[in-house]
């Protein structure tokens, strides 16, 4: 058993299926269109379908990262789509209203204002959830409902177009790779370092398992929950900058529409349980990539992009069923009989109550 340990650990990390999914999707694309995997170097920039997937997926990746930490504390943030719209609206209206709308200064002031406002919105969500103790789905529903109205108020109901080279860099610029990818990767590395090289990740998970117990154990559970909502809102703000910069316009009605769903989907596909207490950043990243690859595949197969929603629905259900404790128990029950003597601890009957168990049954089977 010892020799297979790294493989087992990989299996238990829950990254196997997302990876398989992405490889299958890429292979299907490569079969339909052999040029799909090709990358070319032009004017010092890298181009190709794979790069496009990364570039278009960058906003979802960022939002999913923020969402992942929120979900790890057993929360959810439905307001990110509205925050995306507000962020774009604030930046564009600030740039248009500046003395020199084309200058770098105007762009930085606009983006700074937008991100500051997003942080405030995150504080607001955190206040409702951690301060007043509301259910997260309800607390963030308030901003989800009102947020687009606020964005419309900021843009006065118009689609504001801007011409600012500095601002355009965020979403459409290149630094060998598209700048948006670099930003998303930088945030990912930063989050991974902060949560996995310090105890913060562990603390977040413990808050997700039981906020009250964590507080009694001496954790600042409230501050931690508050922080993850602020972080999620800032991530959504940066994603909003990317989206509006990519089209050089702020569309309060449609920017980031349904992106909260994509982000939640990415987190769930990546193996993070919606019950909180356990999360995977790499899984989330893979989840976001799967969604973007799926969308791109539908495009490249020549199907109407609106039908993507059907494919997404099928994926969500399939992934949820695979993660469902009952299905897992059934599948694992079979493997266990084949490979190892029955382990009383891994019996599904050991669970109590109807709450979804946060610990995967796989781990118990995998480790000898």
């Amino acid at each position: 058993m010892t020799s297979t340990r790294p493989l087992d650990r990989f299996r238990s990390s829950g990254l196997l299926w997302p990876l398989v999914a992405i490889v299958v999707l890429l292979a299907a694309n490569a079969v339909v269109r052999p040029s799909f995997l090709a990358l070319r170097f032009q004017d010092g920039h890298l181009y190709g379908s794979l790069i496009d997937i990364l570039k278009n997926g960058a906003p979802t990746m960022l939002i999913a990262l923020g969402m992942c930490l929120v979900i790890a504390t057993r929360g959810i943030d439905l307001s990110v789509g509205a925050v995306v719209a507000i962020s774009g609206a604030v930046t564009c209206s600030s740039i248009v209203g500046a003395a020199e709308p084309g200058s770098a200064g105007a762009a930085f002031v606009g983006m700074g204002t937008a991100l500051a406002l997003c942080a405030v919105l995150g504080l607001w969500n955190g206040f409702l959830v951690a301060g007043l103790g509301m259910q997260p789905i309800i607390a963030t529903l308030v901003l989800m409902t009102a947020g687009r109205g606020i964005a419309m108020l900021i843009t006065d109901g118009q689609i504001i177009t801007v011409r600012n080279p500095t601002f355009r860099t965020v979403g459409a610029g290149f630094l060998v790779l598209p700048v948006s990818i670099l930003i998303a990767v930088a945030v990912f590395v930063l989050v991974a370092l902060v949560t996995r090289r310090t105890a913060l990740g562990l603390l977040i998970e413990s808050v997700g398992i039981n906020p009250e117990a964590s507080r009694l154990a001496g954790l600042r559970a409230r501050t931690i929950r508050w922080t993850v909502y602020v972080f999620a809102a800032i991530c959504a703000g940066v994603a909003g900058l990317m989206i509006s910069s990519n089209v050089s316009a702020a569309d309060a009605n449609n920017a980031g529409l349904w992106i909260e769903m994509d982000a939640i989907l990415a987190v769930v596909i990546g193996g993070t349980s919606l019950a909180g207490g356990r999360y995977s950043l790499t899984g989330t990243l893979l989840g976001a990539l799967i969604i973007q690859t799926l969308t791109t595949t539908v495009y490249s197969m020549g199907i109407d992009p609106k039908i993507t929603l059907v494919f997404k629905a099928v994926v969500v259900i399939a992934v949820c069923l695979l993660q469902a404790p009952k299905v897992r128990a059934a599948l694992l029950g079979r493997t266990r009989r084949r490979h190892a003597p029955p382990d009383p601890e891994a019996e599904p009957t050991a669970r109590q109550g109807t709450q979804t168990p946060t610990e995967p049954l796989v781990e118990k089977v995998a480790q000898p």
């Binding site: 789905i137 009102a146 947020g147 989907l265 019950a275 993507t308 969500v316 069923l321 469902a324 009952k326």
Partner: protein, 337 residues
Amino acid sequence: MTTTATPAKEKGLLGTLAGGRSIPGRVVPVLATFVLFVLLFGVGAGRYDGFTSGQVVANLFIDNSFLIVLAVGMTFVIVTGGIDLSVGAVVALSTMVAAAGLGAGLPAPLVVLLVLAMGSTLGLLMGLVIHYFEIQPFIVTLAGMFLARGLCFVVGVQSISIKDPTFRSIATASLPLSANVSITWSVVIALAIVAVAGWVLHRTRFGRTAYAVGGNENSAMLMGLPVARVKVGVYVISGICSATAGLLFALYMLSGYGLHAVGMELDAIASVVIGGTLLSGGVGYVLGSLLGVLVLGVIQTLISFQGTLSSWWTKIAIGTLLLLFIVMQRVFMRRQP
């Protein structure tokens, strides 16, 4: 969730008002909604000529008949502690199926049956997955939402107008209530559904079990109540209500389109919450949800009478009200023993 909702006792709103000495906390939000409705209406009556005319009130019902039906279905789901995000998409799918079916020359009654069957099947599937695989309702109905919206575009990406004479005559018929007030068939259907739903939720075994499941599912199970049937049943009810609302919406717009009713699930949830139903389950009234819809309707009417106010204020107003009512619910629920 640490707050334990007390299972609602079989005591109607009127019963508590007439017989009870103190008003229980869970009725206060409904009363508050009613007071809010009267206040908002009073503001309108004070500021604008013609606001108090009977037709303005009738229009509240005419323009929101589909939302009333949606909110009624949503009440059942939320009372059991679940949530249904798919309702807006099912409304769109229903308009699409109805329009396409009528366009293909199917008779109107068959189309209605087809749409209702589709809605209840979708609800049944979601309910089964939620209950038997123990997946959160939120994520299952989210998938249902994606599926229904996607299916809309499978049926067709363009808007399809409804030319069927039966549908058109039902849509344009007006039922005079008095000399200058008239309503449509949609209002009659919506109010009939409110009455039936109120009876089912407050007066039958099914309704009592729904409250018990919302109060504490484990206890309900240990008491030997048919938890599975009720938990799946509420999603079927919500599916049928969404399909009916879709038919009413098709009558209202006389067209089917995949982007109809975007975000309507939020309006439905907001109405239910403003109507005093507790999102953690166990407490709620069908009448409250009707009042919740009317409050949203009055806000919209106020904004359209004002004319200068932009329509996005509606969204901000709904968000603010949502917040107010959730905070109020917490305050009143905490005071209860």
